[in-house]
Symmetry: C2
Subunit: 378 residues, 2 copies
Amino acid sequence: MTLDELYTPCLIADKGIVKRNIDRMNKQAERLGVALRPHVKTAKSVEVALMINGGSVGPITVSTLREAEYFAAAGFKDIIYAVSMVPEKLDRAKDIIDRGVDLKMIIDNADVARAISDAGVRYHRVYKLMVEIDVDMHRAGLSPDDPEMLNVARAINDGEGTELAGVLTHAGESYHSKNEEDLIAAAQNERDLIVRAAENIRAAGLPCPIVSCGSTPTATHAKDLSGVTELRAGVYVFQDLYQAGSGNADAESDLALSVLTTVISHKKNQNRIITDAGGMALSKDQSTRGTDFDAGYGLVADIDGKIIDNLYVCSANQEHGIITTRDGSAFDFDRFPIGTRLRILPNHACMTAAAYDKYNVVDGGREIVEIWNRCNGW
Amino acid sequence: MTLDELYTPCLIADKGIVKRNIDRMNKQAERLGVALRPHVKTAKSVEVALMINGGSVGPITVSTLREAEYFAAAGFKDIIYAVSMVPEKLDRAKDIIDRGVDLKMIIDNADVARAISDAGVRYHRVYKLMVEIDVDMHRAGLSPDDPEMLNVARAINDGEGTELAGVLTHAGESYHSKNEEDLIAAAQNERDLIVRAAENIRAAGLPCPIVSCGSTPTATHAKDLSGVTELRAGVYVFQDLYQAGSGNADAESDLALSVLTTVISHKKNQNRIITDAGGMALSKDQSTRGTDFDAGYGLVADIDGKIIDNLYVCSANQEHGIITTRDGSAFDFDRFPIGTRLRILPNHACMTAAAYDKYNVVDGGREIVEIWNRCNGW
């Protein structure tokens, strides 16, 4: 099977590029002297997670319990579920632990710590919990110097059904960095504050074995991670236009994910062509909107993955992707007859991949060399 | 099972509201004297499609061949695939026809008509094609008075492997109507131009049995559809915030779809709470953005579906939905302890439902009275 034969729209991953992206981040972690715990929320694929660790299972981060279950079934044993845990979901966590998984969960609230401990006692389990630290007001977590941070750590440590496994943060605001200097500063800030949280916990006489931080932008730009035990990053395996626009990837050479699509209509009186990759196939993510790198709903590449200058997906209905010229110049309709296959590079790989249940994998050429599975849902 | 027990995030549909929405549109079609051919692209669910037609199979519109296959397997026999067909996909269409389905497809190009006819001859099939008409420069199709429109009709009619089944349009720009007067005008324009296309075809001595138009906004506001044979609409079965903001639905009583979510973190220093329904669970659709009805990534209702004043989902990370007050007033954290269940009303039902493989169906209360399937993908 080749790209010329697949039904469109469908999801394409380029193995050679994925491998390069993986090697680069592995080297970065090695250079920084920290373990890499990839966030598998982007690819959600056992094949990709294995590739990161040289073909064998390694430590991973997940964003849903469904992912934890999927990777546990494939033999992954060291998993952090990096979204605030609530007691209501503990029976699923118990089942994952009972498969032999060393599962760590994160919280930022002492009442929740106590409720989870109570459940642990009830279930005869000891749940490993980490305190989520907020380093940039992006999402959940507590500031390292907030007295409540220590209260949560202490509640976990004191709980009969819980064990304090460490601290974790995600410098999500680094996604909005404007230049390399900002990115380096965001990485330094993330490192400094997560280490300070660990130090505050240890100074209070509590254990803090894991000190976990990371995001693709900060992991890529970190200069020093002393005191950090592990680095997390996710989207780097595929990269995307948002990462390219933010200086974390090269649009021409690092983007491993694309949506294969077919030209289905010529709209000559509107200077545009229509493809079968619309909002469902690309997602409605417009994260590059308003930036210098605004790509609409995606950039347009030919079937071989080479970006076509001056075209972009300007609009996306449910099953129609509308492509026009960026500068308003006349569209070369003869170059793209109806039936032409194109590849759309997405703004946000995590969101785009979520519409599909598998990756059609190429390795530079048009031949489908492998199929990679992915899990979706919760 | 009740809403208090489901794992979150998950998709909820309220059967009573769906039924009311269905009844209203059925009555509207009856009043207008046209057949209703619902667009099943929103619910993508056999159960919902059957409900529209009083429990038996009826004519439907689909947006993907996967939907056509899914509904064909459930016994639906009269299907329009309302996205421009290309020859590359004809073998799937053939298989659908071979299951006894009267499948109609749409095109807007004479070369495509000839290529499909050639394939028909090769496969010993006659493909039924409709000419897509453009009434408002929204998407694909040809203007009714464009000479090319007649060329396409003639090419279909003359082709040995094709049969001219009629004309079809979708007044997609009606989604941007600003008030009732605009909506009524958009409906009238859609009717006038699709009928003119049919008249032009007939005046050229060609057949035009089906004259198909519609969208939820124009179907809701049409006053007269004389000359039209069938009306299409899709999102009305669930409605959503975009439809409510556009005057096609009432936000308090007509919205049948919601995402059940759990409060997972209190971010007191930022006056917000965090739930487990983020961009993956809600979609990144922001179609109400910039309108008077801007709902961010969704409005917030309690577990029983009652909208909570002054709250909205202001931001959506992959698995985190961030809720704050619309007017910046102090958040009442005590009212929403961690673990509280909420229901998020989506901007765009079609996009939000796509993240799920089933509907948990309530009927006013909290009890799950049915599970409805849905199909996804292509």
